[in-house]
Amino acid sequence: MPVYNFKKMAPVPSASDFVDIVLTRTQRKTPTVVHPGYKITRIRSFYMRKIKFTQQTISDRLTAMLADFPRLSDIHPFYSDLCNTLYDRDHYKLALGQINTAKQLVDAVARDMIRMVKYGDSLYRCKCLKRAALGRMCTILKRQKASLSYLEEVRKHMSRLPALDPNTRTLLMCGLPNVGKSSFMNKITRANVDVQPYAFTTKSLFVGHTDYKYLRWQVIDTPGILDHSLEQRNTIEMQAITALAHLTCSVLYFMDISEQCGYTIEQQCNLFRSIQPLFANKQLVVVINKIDAQPWETLEADRKKLIEDLLEESGPNTTMLKMSNVSEEGVSQVKNEACEKLLAARVDSRVSGNKVDSVMNRLQVVYPTARDGVTRDAFIPESVKKEKELGAKKPKKSRKGYAPTVDDSDDEADDTPPESDDEMIGDDGVSTRKKTARELMWENGGPGVWAPDYREQYDLADPEWRFDAIPQILDGKNIADYVDPDIDDRLRLLEEEEDQLAAEYDAANMQRMDDDDSLDEMEKAQVSEIRDRVKIARAHKERPGGRNRPALPREIRGRVKDMHDSDAKLKASAIEKRMDKYGVDTGAMLERGRKRERDDPREIRRRKRDAEMEDAAPATNEDEEMEDGRGKSKGAIKRARKEREQSVKRASSQARSHSRPREPSQMGLKDDDMAKVAKKVEKQGQFRWHGGAGEGDHTKAVHLVKWMNTGKKRNGTHYCR
């Protein structure tokens, strides 16, 4: 079942906008830089792409437009006729046809021009052809100005049409202008149609929805119809006629018996007769309106007769009902009658149609027959029976705390008495209905004050434990970390393992004791000491991260006092002490160390320097004191001496720079002469590309190229095409 919703059609741009959209898109979505130096195939494909892309864009957009607009032959005849009256079918078809032709023309232009570009032999020629192609396509689009603007208007109007479903249950009001159709519409739906005391207030179809028997009913308000021939009818009236002609519905023909609308009853009857062919196969209700102004009973006899004759003519299915929008008399009756008639007719048509057979064939209704005379009632427990007898009226469940519903609105007053009855039953001991948590909550102060105690429901080995307090932290540990459902099993396993290990250890001990029996007390002590030290040594060795640096050779280790200062020397006494512990003779060792120290060249140099200083210092001191010692204070002399000593020290000290590595460029060269030779060779090698110029003559290419940056810069004059 198609849904007639014309709101989703995309807006149709005007012709000039269309051209802008297409050209902008081409400019944005295709490459823009090409140079005459490119290979000609590349230039050609650059421009062919532009042409093809433009054509594709136009074609896509026009195709989408054609797909969006409904084809009048495909939609429901009601809508097709409505479109005809509102937009003129021929005009509509022509517009769409022209759009289609334009699409084909654009395709043809693109095809031709691409063929020409294939023979282009220069950038200029290709560019001219592209320009011509785009221009011709845009011209074709511009010619569609009228069609496009017409289609846009149609689209806007269509999207504002009421969402009317031609196949659903529908009530349709018709009649002369100003007889009260729209007022009735406002009475039974929420459509909020404009009601005014002049003719043709309603100028188009209006849709509202009402409810009857839990079904949704579509109510359509039509503009008033005048009594003249079909050719003379205008667009507004034709909409009403279209709706009448094509919708399967229940028709309410409104008659104003007070004649306030400006038309006599006779005229109204004539209109009825003239549009009667449209009422065929519809459920017709003639509504006698405005009985507040002119009651039916007091109507003149001849006029009454006119209406009654009309009803007789129209056949037995026509119902006449009287109502008034002002006094609201008979409004719902009219609605119900119309709905009822249509519903009956719809069901009837379903049953009488040929589709029903296929359903009925598959239906089979079976009634079970009694197998024997035994009655098999539902099983009701004794307790329930007893309770039923006692509490004749069923204890009502408390509705307190729930959202109020319609059911308990009348019981609001006696909300508490049933509860008290319930209590009494409980006291008797016959019925022990447990109070629900909700009831308890309301008794104890409502939500937020009282909450059920879930500890009551704990299932523990001893029910007395239920209310015991459980600490969160015990012995500085969070007990939640130690909660383990299998803790008993694990403990048992652990204990078993421990027992086993203990037994093994004992057995091993017993055996060793047996071995050591041959030793005496002294030996045993020594053995145990040795074993302890071995143990310590092993532990020390295996200690992780104990030493993370290269081991020093033994000769150095022997001399070193602490590990951090490898230059520091052990005192002879310390060596003796350590070595004695191991029972090693230290005499030769110390002698060797001393000899090494004496022969060390650094040590010899140091000694020599010290000796020189010793020699020099007293001499100068004496001279100084001799010369100018008298006139100076004691502190000044002291300061001067200190300074002197330091200057001597500085003079004799050696600069660190002697050990600095050589310049990287001279690495691998023996000496300065070698370095000079190397430099000369290098220069000779570079002569070929530097020429005779030195470093000062080196140049760098300019960034600003003159021919690229002078002259006027406008769109398209340079190499950007």
Partner: protein, 260 residues
């Protein structure tokens, strides 16, 4: 008003905001300034287009104003018509000044005096051979260069068949062959798309004429039977000369002006 004319409906139910008129007036008043700001700022092709559009708008505006002022305007021939009674046979010639008639006759004479073969585009830039032809190298080693491909648009007759490759010196690519021309009738000021019947004269070279090359200034013969033109002897003319006014290889179409 359809049901969903929501704007109108809302206006009907709730009215407009109190300063709506004021806002509209202000927007209109500002529009002038905005336009001028844009017109001063815009440049390039957009400026060109904008100025064209604006000129048109202004022209129509001037025309409308003139129409409104029609009654109060002073017209050139007001005095002439008002001055005395004019005989009936002179009524249709009112206002035609003597000078205009004179100038027309002078123009007519000058036209007749001019040569019979005067054409709309009298001077044409000659097209060199190496621009016209591309060398197609042939042979298995591609060292022979006696074949030529025409790079301009051409016209070839309906019953043309290519020669055997061995004898075909000039190739006229089928993509560049033209069948129809957009011909303007200079007096009617209208254009028609007409079939080309043949190339009469290519001003650059007789070789091009033989090959049927269409360049700017080429005289072609077009089929005008649809136009219903009549010759001086009273017969319906069906072939007429026209001169090509554009470069077909750059535009992808042949534009011509009828020689009458």
């Amino acid at each position: 008003m359809p049901q969903h004319e929501h704007m109108e409906r809302h206006r009907k139910l709730h009215g407009r905001r109190f300063d709506a008129e004021e806002r509209e007036r202000k927007r209109d008043a500002r529009m002038v300034h905005k336009r001028s700001e844009f017109a001063q700022k815009v440049h390039g092709i957009r400026a060109k287009l904008y100025n064209q559009r604006r000129f048109k708008e202004k022209a129509t505006m001037r025309k409308t104003i003139a129409q409104h002022n029609e009654r109060s305007n002073k017209h050139a021939n007001d005095d002439a018509v008002a001055d005395g009674a004019v005989p009936a046979y002179l009524l249709d010639r009112e206002g035609v000044s003597r000078a205009k008639v004179l100038s027309n006759t002078v123009k007519q004479k000058r036209k007749e005096k001019a040569g019979k073969w005067e054409v709309p585009i009298p001077k044409v830039k000659p097209v060199a051979d190496d621009e016209m032809f591309k060398v197609q190298r042939t042979g298995s080693k591609k060292n022979k260069a006696w074949k030529r491909v025409v790079t301009k648009c051409t016209f070839v007759g309906d019953n043309f068949t290519r020669k055997a490759p061995k004898y075909e010196r000039f190739i006229r690519p089928s993509g560049l062959r033209m069948k129809r021309a957009n011909v303007t009738h200079p007096e009617l000021k209208t254009s028609f798309q007409l079939d080309i019947l043949g190339v009469k004269k290519n001003p650059s070279s007789s070789l091009y004429t033989n090959l049927g090359v269409l360049t700017k200034g080429t005289i072609i013969e077009v089929n005008v039977s649809d136009l219903g033109l009549v010759t001086t002897s009273g017969r319906v003319a069906w072939g007429k000369m026209a001169q090509v006014t554009n470069n077909p290889e750059l535009d992808g179409c042949v534009n011509a002006v009828l020689l009458v």
